[in-house]
């Protein structure tokens, strides 16, 4: 635990924690929400993340990416909670088959989704679709696309190689697009042929 609030560098550690770590609370919550897909569970993960972060704040190097550091803690907290729940985490790192499948669906997705992708009211559908894809891929998409992490940053948070981030990101984005294209069709925005409102 952080018992002395002044670091060797003369900074007030508690003030640094407030200024750096607590300002990332919204980002940590969003990441936890994507990990858990449940608001109450996400809040538990956030609280535990901040407690752990506070206790080990002396190990954080000021000047490095505090969000990346917090995301890593949050993911560890989440995985630990899943372990306690005796639920297994299954990861599929083989991107090759996934890439082939995604490429096959690409033309259909572009035709179906292209006409509506700029709609301002698509946000809720995107978030629902994101929650529906496997966490293996969703975590990479959320870190890079929503939380603006680099491939290297996402790799560090997820504890996987950069190449795996790249393949999961590709597959995750394609799965998200496929789900959105189905939504667009079901909602009547597009026809099965991919036209929008009868005119393309």
């Amino acid at each position: 635990m952080m018992t002395d609030s002044t670091t060797a560098q003369g900074h007030d550690a508690h003030a640094d924690f407030s200024e750096l770590a607590l300002t990332a609370l919204d980002d940590v919550y969003r990441f936890a929400r994507s990990l858990t897909r449940d608001e109450a569970d996400a809040e538990d993960v956030v609280q535990e993340t901040y407690l752990r972060a506070f206790r080990s704040w002396h190990t954080f190097q000021v000047g490095t990416d505090v969000r990346r550091w917090l995301f890593t803690i949050a993911r560890n907290v989440f995985l630990r909670s899943r372990e306690r729940g005796r639920r297994e985490v299954t990861l599929d790192d083989d991107g090759s088959e996934a890439v082939d499948a995604a490429q096959a669906a690409e033309a259909w997705v572009m035709r179906g989704l292209g006409p509506i992708i700029d709609r301002a009211d698509l946000g809720p559908a995107i978030n629902r679709a994101l929650e529906g894809i496997p966490s293996t891929y969703r975590d990479a998409v959320v870190l890079v696309d929503v939380e603006d992490q680099s491939y290297e940053g996402a790799a560090e948070v997820l504890g996987i190689p950069v190449g795996t981030v790249r393949s999961r990101l590709f597959r995750g984005r394609k799965l998200l697009q496929e789900r959105l294209a189905v939504y667009a069709q079901d909602a009547g925005f597009t026809t099965p042929a991919g036209t929008s409102g009868g005119s393309e």
């Binding site: 607590l22 992708i117 698509l122 990101l169």
Partner: protein
């Protein structure tokens, strides 16, 4: 802020065709390519109607995903976190 340009090992004299441009598309849009490689891929895309349409779609898609980001922590969660930190001695 993304900051890495990872794993972009390539021969600078490589010719960028449709396949290699599309293979690198997400990395380009994510800012993960070296400036030189990005210039080469962009040059191909600008001159190729098919790749341009594909790149335009993916760019709009990523923009939509970013714009759809969920709202942040609620006030009650914020207070819950602060309360638990105070209980641990946080004085910030």
């Amino acid at each position: 802020m993304k900051e890495s340009m990872s794993q972009d090992t390539h021969d600078p004299h490589d010719v960028v065709d449709c396949r290699s441009a599309m293979d690198r598309l997400f990395e380009m849009l994510d800012g993960e390519l070296t400036p030189e490689r990005e210039r080469q891929v962009r040059a191909h895309i600008v001159g190729c109607p098919g790749c341009f349409a594909h790149a335009d779609f993916e760019e709009r898609f990523l923009k939509a995903v970013r714009a759809a980001r969920l709202s942040g922590a609620s006030a009650s969660l914020r207070e819950r976190v602060l309360s638990s930190l105070r209980a641990q001695g946080w004085t910030g």
